[in-house]
């Protein structure tokens, strides 16, 4: 039995080394791929019109916020 257990520990070491190796290799490749992707995006999409993708909901929300902001502003002014 002790041999099986020793075998188990050596299996564990192999698994740990391959595991950490895979994690590092994977994330290193992901760093490189991400860098590349970001560069391509920044090259071909100089200015990102971030507000382009607005849904109706957002508009309503913004409108509501404006109204409420206006109400707050009035409230404060009159409190003075």
């Amino acid at each position: 039995m002790s041999q099986t257990v020793e075998n188990l520990v050596s299996q564990g070491f192999e698994l740990a080394i391959f595991g950490m190796g895979t994690v590092f290799v994977f994330l290193t490749l992901l760093i490189l791929a991400t860098h590349g992707m970001s560069r391509l995006v920044q090259k071909y999409e100089p200015e990102t019109p971030k507000t382009a993708v607005k849904t109706a909901t957002h508009k309503v929300d913004r409108h509501l916020i404006e109204v409420i902001a206006a109400a707050i502003a009035q409230h404060r002014n009159e409190g003075d």
Partner: protein, 376 residues
Amino acid sequence: MSQLAALWQSSGIYQISVAQAVMILIGLFLLYLAIARRFEPLLLIPIGFGGILSNIPGVEIAVGDGVLAQFAGMGLDTGIFPLLVFMGIGAMTDFGPLLANPRTMLLGAAAQFGIFSTLLGALAMTQLGVFDFSLAQAAAIGIIGGADGPTAIYVSSVLAPELLGAIAVSAYSYMALVPLIQPPIMRALTTHDERIIQMQLPREVSQTEKILFPLLLLILVALIVPGAAPLLGMFCFGNLMKECRVVARLSDTAQNALINIATIFLGLSVGSKLIADEFLVGATLGILGLGVVAFAIGTATGVLMAKVMNMFSERKINPLIGAAGVSAVPMAARVANKVGIESDPDNFLIMHAMGPNVAGVIGSTIAAGVLIQFAG
């Protein structure tokens, strides 16, 4: 008269065993931690309550046709519940900080050392004759060090379902204890000068990058570690639904109704694994002991990795954010921020720590994929 005897014999007082009573107390203790101490209440309340239900004598709730047994059969043994929770987390995750500073992913890689050293620890205990863990069981215990609840539950449902209850309780308890476990290690491994390193403001990340990243991640997983594809696939799917902005109603549901329903069922299902016979065994103590070690080592290797990176780069990283690499999103990032503020009240690290924090999630799922492929 014989009916009265039947009534008495059907009562819980007559039937309850000491082990069941102990498990009910443990369930109540988990509820106490969740409610009074705010220990990961979203999971520990269903788990604790499910644990109590599962140990009520004389009625089948967690076995046979019992309702919790049915929940577990539907979504825990099949992996569906943790995958749905993971999809919802994906839909709540912002990869922006990571995209702004991709090299901090290495911190998320280093912190996964906690997983593999705990695996070795479990096997060492087996060699010492203290416990008798198989390779698959040791791997499932190790994943506690990933500090990621759904990943830990998914991996143990595949590799060691008999340990699932103890592993889930251990994982969520230590995730809640991150603010206690991490700071001393972080302070011990860093100098004051390191802790006050100010990092430059991250650049703004475009929406296109955020849309492309989950796809890039998925393709890379498919090419390199396919075993991680179910977990990371569902995560990336959730994230893509959020970032693409054309399916807001699906993203909202994934972040709310669906993840909440899956969480309730997942928690109760995990609770059904807290049956006295399965939980009150020596192995559980071993798992609780190894779990805290896993968190500690992951924290340490995350911090040390940052210090190593600082040797080779001029843009210095504050090594405190390395501790966030264990995942435990967003708790570990907050801890990094808090310890940083102790040394310099104007140095807010939270945004910088979110990068390694979500990288830690990716790292854990990659490790999980390797373990499932080679220890299964």
